[in-house]
Structure formats: structure tokens, C-alpha cells
Symmetry: C2
Subunit: 158 residues, 2 copies
């Protein structure tokens, strides 16, 4: 993961993909969202989505999984260059989360982010705030998820 100073408005990064399967869709649903259309192909077909579809929260949790894998990879590369990897700070939350299309068993969702804006934190000089626009796009090129998140990123000269 980058330091605050490394991120500029307009930056774009493809962070990785997640494969949704009937098994992982139902496993997530059993734990957290046991609605019939997330558990069972037949109920999914009868639902408004028209097929077994993933819980919206599964689509979000999968984003987090891909995000953590990406920043772990970036930190490893950074350490390999002899630099100290940056550790992102807590996220205060996010805005305007949209589940734009259902995610079906067999779908592969590719996640990416774009930096919308950056600003120094007035109260915490060791951190900057970066506003990211996050998206998930399926193998048909359809956006299935978008949300905006503002994250504390450490400053290089903290």
C-alpha cells in the first residue's frame, strides 16, 4: 500500500478478482444472509434477480479480501526494495454504496479503485485522507458494485 504522498487524483489500480461460486455464495448466505435466493438455485430463479445471486454483503466482503491481498502484495514488494511499507489507517466508513446488478454463481468480479481526491488531515499531521472510488465489474463488463471510501493513509514524513 502506498503512502499519502504517492497517491494522486486520477490514479487507477486494478486490485484483483474474486470468483463467485454456488458454494461460496451459499456458504456466506448460511452465515449471514440466509434468504432463499442466496441459498438455492431454484429459489434464485424464482426471485427478481433470476438466478442464484450473492448477498450484497458477500460482494463487499470479497472486495475487502481482494483489497487486503493487494496491499499485502504491495507491502511485500516495497519491503523487497528495502523500503518500509505503509500501513493504511482505519476507514471511517463510506458513501453511496450501490449494488448495481446481481452477482451470480460463476461470475468473476474484478475490483479496482480510482483516487478522487487527497487532503492532509488537520487534526492528525501524520495522516492524510484519500478519497477512493471503488468498483467491481463482472466478466460481461457490467459494473455490479460501486462505493466511495475515505481512508487515512500515513504520510511519508510522519
Amino acid at each position: 500500500m502506498s503512502y499519502f504522498e504517492d497517491l494522486m487524483p486520477g490514479d487507477h489500480r486494478e486490485i484483483g478478482s474474486y470468483v463467485f461460486t454456488a458454494e461460496n455464495i451459499a456458504a456466506f448466505a448460511r452465515q449471514f444472509d440466509p434468504q432463499p435466493f442466496h441459498l438455492d438455485e431454484y429459489a434464485g430463479r424464482a426471485s427478481i434477480a433470476g438466478g442464484l445471486s450473492a448477498s450484497g454483503w458477500h460482494v463487499c466482503a470479497a472486495w475487502m479480501k481482494v483489497m487486503v491481498a493487494d496491499f499485502t502484495r504491495a507491502a511485500t514488494e516495497c519491503a523487497a526494495r528495502g523500503e518500509t511499507p505503509a500501513t493504511p489507517g482505519p476507514s471511517p466508513g463510506f458513501r453511496d454504496l450501490k449494488w448495481l446488478k446481481p452477482v451470480f454463481a460463476g461470475d468473476i468480479v474484478a475490483y479496482a479503485w480510482d483516487v478522487r481526491s487527497t487532503r492532509a488531515s488537520e487534526s492528525r499531521p501524520q495522516w492524510g485522507l484519500v478519497n477512493f472510488f471503488n468498483t467491481g465489474v463482472n466478466q460481461r463488463g457490467e459494473q455490479v458494485l460501486s462505493f466511495e471510501a475515505t481512508v487515512f493513509m500515513p504520510r511519508r514524513r510522519a
Copy 2:
């Protein structure tokens, strides 16, 4: 779950609680958010949260679990009265999700909703749109989660 006509601005409902444990915090984190401070007590203590804390997405997924349990319960009661239970439609997403405080192992989060506004859907006469303000409050009375969601609810005379 209620029909559109049963929900009025100002309505409030306590939907249930979820107990966060070191085990379920780490189990969620291993699947979707394997950052050290969500996996390990020691790393949690060294983090900004000051203790082993749940992934924000776990706090959301637990809300969904409690929500589904509550509307399943309401549907059962409704069926017992000889009425046809309402099935909520898809959620297009939500706004302004805030993780206000860390959720630690041992915390019990009570979730609730308030209806902010209701309106008929112009494009889909069989549905109404209900705007809910959702919260999670821990056993110390601190709000740990809030977000606003607009949900399609079926109309009684669809």
C-alpha cells in the same frame, strides 16, 4: 416484514443483537479481512483500536444476519395470523455507512432501524420505497455503526 403501507416515518424497531467473540471475529477475518488486528489479540492491542477488533464488514454482515432473523420472525407471526407475509425487494444500496467505534471481542451489538421517509415507486406501482436509518449500539451505549438504506417494500394492494 411489513408491507409498504404498514411503515410510517418515525417508526422504530429493535431487530436483535449479535455477540462478537474472539473466535467469530477471527473466523470472519480469515475469510475476508485478514489484517493482523482482526486476527490476533496482541496485534489488536498494538493497533489504533487498542484491542482485537472486528472487521467493519463483519459488523455489517452481522446486521444482515439479525435483520433476516427479524423479518423471518415477523413473517412467521404474520402467517400465524393467517395473513400473507410481505417479502422485501432488493436493496439498491445505501448511503453514509459509518463505523463509529471499534467492535471488540466480548461486545454485544444491538441493531435497530428508524423509518426516515416513505414514497411510492413511480416506475413500479407494486412497490414502495422506504428509507431506513440503521444503527448498531454496543453494551456501553455507544453507537458503533450507522447507515441509511432505501429498500423496495411490496404494497399491500399490489
